[in-house]
Symmetry: C2
Subunit: 503 residues, 2 copies
Amino acid sequence: MTEILNNLFAIILAGGSGTRFWPLSRETCPKQMLQIVGEDTLIRQSIKRINGFVPPENIWIVTTEGKAQDMQFHLEPLGSLARSIQFIIEPLGKNTAPAIGLAAIYLSHHSPDSLMIVMPSDHAIPDTEKFLRDLKLAIEGAKRDYLVTFGIKPNRSETGYGYIKVVNGSEMAPKGFLKVERFVEKPDLETAKTYLSEGNYFWNSGIFVWKTSKILYEIETHLPDLYKKLKEMESLLFVSGQPNKFIPCNAKPITLGPHKPNKPNKPDRLYELYSSLEPVSIDYGVMERSSNVLMVPASFQWSDLGSWTALDEVIEKDNSGNILKGNTIDIGSQNSIVFAGKRLVATIGLKDMVVVDTPDATLVTPKEKVQDIRRIVETLKQNGREEYLLHKTVERPWGSYTVLEKGEGYKIKRVALKPGAKLSLQLHRRRSEHWVVVSGIAKVTKEDETYLMQTNESTYIPINIKHRLENPGEGPLQIIEVQNGDYLEEDDIERFDDVYGRS
Amino acid sequence: MTEILNNLFAIILAGGSGTRFWPLSRETCPKQMLQIVGEDTLIRQSIKRINGFVPPENIWIVTTEGKAQDMQFHLEPLGSLARSIQFIIEPLGKNTAPAIGLAAIYLSHHSPDSLMIVMPSDHAIPDTEKFLRDLKLAIEGAKRDYLVTFGIKPNRSETGYGYIKVVNGSEMAPKGFLKVERFVEKPDLETAKTYLSEGNYFWNSGIFVWKTSKILYEIETHLPDLYKKLKEMESLLFVSGQPNKFIPCNAKPITLGPHKPNKPNKPDRLYELYSSLEPVSIDYGVMERSSNVLMVPASFQWSDLGSWTALDEVIEKDNSGNILKGNTIDIGSQNSIVFAGKRLVATIGLKDMVVVDTPDATLVTPKEKVQDIRRIVETLKQNGREEYLLHKTVERPWGSYTVLEKGEGYKIKRVALKPGAKLSLQLHRRRSEHWVVVSGIAKVTKEDETYLMQTNESTYIPINIKHRLENPGEGPLQIIEVQNGDYLEEDDIERFDDVYGRS
């Protein structure tokens, strides 16, 4: 199977903002970066699931530039695997058809004879073995020029998923497959009940397998405007006939795809083109219209984790139907979800409620109103509130920092550095900093001076003094930083040297 | 009226633990110390309400020793008024009849001809003028040897209050008063509806006026066991015929009343006696049984603030019937109470819910379950959890401290000192401390050395070194303290000198 493997690519779609899992998800920490079910975050689980089935360098993630940066740091715990993964950058999110089309264009230059496995980054699939077994079957279909999708046998009248209707009588399809009649949108409850009883409706998992050449052909047929614009992007991105070389995913931001605006010439045109694309899903843009679609009835369990209430399907509940996580005390609640962290959340007699607590924001809503969470997030965004954007703990390539308190003229942070990590050589124009080491060993550079600090030692960094903090140890380093000044935002930083390529 | 004034005493009952307002109330911060309605905390409002009507030194607070200490610091913003207030210490809480009896015993020595105004410390009475006008009338009744109580005209079928039934036909009572037929316990809803329609039922406000000699006589008549034990306590506390001198309420803990156990001789017997008292209310122990009771139909608004839901009666609601306080965002909630602080609380579509957020604990409950809050508090207490006992910010005579974070081997506090305040000269056996001044000026003593520190300066206090922090400035001082050590609890402190009398 080796020759197949090298032509087999996993295209992981990771552009989602995960608004619906606020306050646990944030703009800079979307749902795919959360560990809400299983032993790791959703995107790391997605990568581990497919790793080995395809070579690490054939795992490509499609997302926007800002998310790609955050995701690179986020994937670091995967070690060398993370460093093999490629990123394809969308200038902005435009639903799945443009994202898949863009990936196919890159792939057609890189490996014209390739097969693409397209999968979301933020779904739950607990059984990898069954998933890979089904995938092998799907690949056989894709090799025979089919667009192959995976349908999940419904076990309830779910109104939150799209459905795939298959043709009765599977003799029309190759062994193991079902022939797709049509894709249908999220139904109302009555319709969902009918679908469940009729037995020939499956949930649409959003996982696909096909030849790169085949999906481009189908896009050309069914979405000609998208195809035309993809070809124009291609002509801007690639010297004809010369496959582009990929920059591996390491700490440096990736600049493979079309760029953000305000960059000279070509990128502007790329951004313009991509902006003008119709945000259509691959399901309705292509799958619904094509006559070459097969469905694998999935043997694996699956959830798209579309909202907090989806946890009811994937996390074991207590005898009263509750999911209680973290520091909680409950008296007599029923069918409720309480997600707490270190802070105490006490609940009494809740029914069908969702309570989510994070260090800087708490959400309380009945389950039936979870779709309105996006309105909360929109309001926060409009008001320029940090609670939509950042968590109190912010991940960085070198570790993380947590804002413990802001007051007039001061700000207190806990800064955690991974072993070997090195902040940039930097200075601040408007604040000084006191550092106290509370665990590990710190190496401090202050202008021309360099010294080591042990736990329980402190140092002072005056305004306008070039400085750098490193962790030369083998364990983690934690310092408490007390900032004093009249302006204490993150953008008061001049970087002179940065091992992570930031400026 | 001067001669009356000097014989008129306000006895403020402040023993309540305020469990029902958790998590805003804590063991060390009971309901009376909360600002939940009006411009100040409930007890400070209670004191200001009566101040001037009686001389400051005639305001006596009855509470337990632990609460009295916290309360003294809490009353400091009242300035000289606070320093005039007297405390009577109960060894433990035993309901209102013993507390009032104890106060009457003290008062019978201090001012045998006195009149007592007995009032709770944690009720809401927005209109002081009307209250004082009614009080003047009540005093006239008390001078004529009546036990006078205040009844509130009901405006709803409230099941949370006790009621006073008055005799129809007020010609039997002196002008302005109504004759009391009986006191009745909290009714069920049907009964409450009847009371409301019948018109001769009033809410029992728990505010009373009587002669000290008269209430002692009535206790002797109706609660002879209590009376006997009070007389025995009196013989232990007072040299016969010699009025005891009172220690004014300043920073030193008060030791006027019976003491806690494990103190030599007399206090042990006092504690034993007080412990053996039946915990009966004055309403049922005396008022219900006496034939000398008059009621003033109150012209003032009143609420006992018995639970979170009582806020609905005293705080203005928005158009959807919600009370939203602090950092909240709401979409479409109805008839709900959301109490937030600085952290964001986002709510969607709540109906008849209560959400209370504090820095270390959040409560979510339907209004109809607020009586179960005490079960949460009991659980926390049984499990030795701090969330029942302390807030993250703890008031001290010199200011306050806030625990910003605890981690392995370190703890971070913000310490705020009032102008002129002085911590004790102290040392720690198991922790060192780094101090960074973030506002104000600090005076630091380290063994024999003394120096001043400005904002943005830091110092280090090693283990086993005697040290002291003072605020010599005219504005507040704030420092950030980073503690390092293997044991970081409050009890690792040896005090050598303390201006607040602590050891």
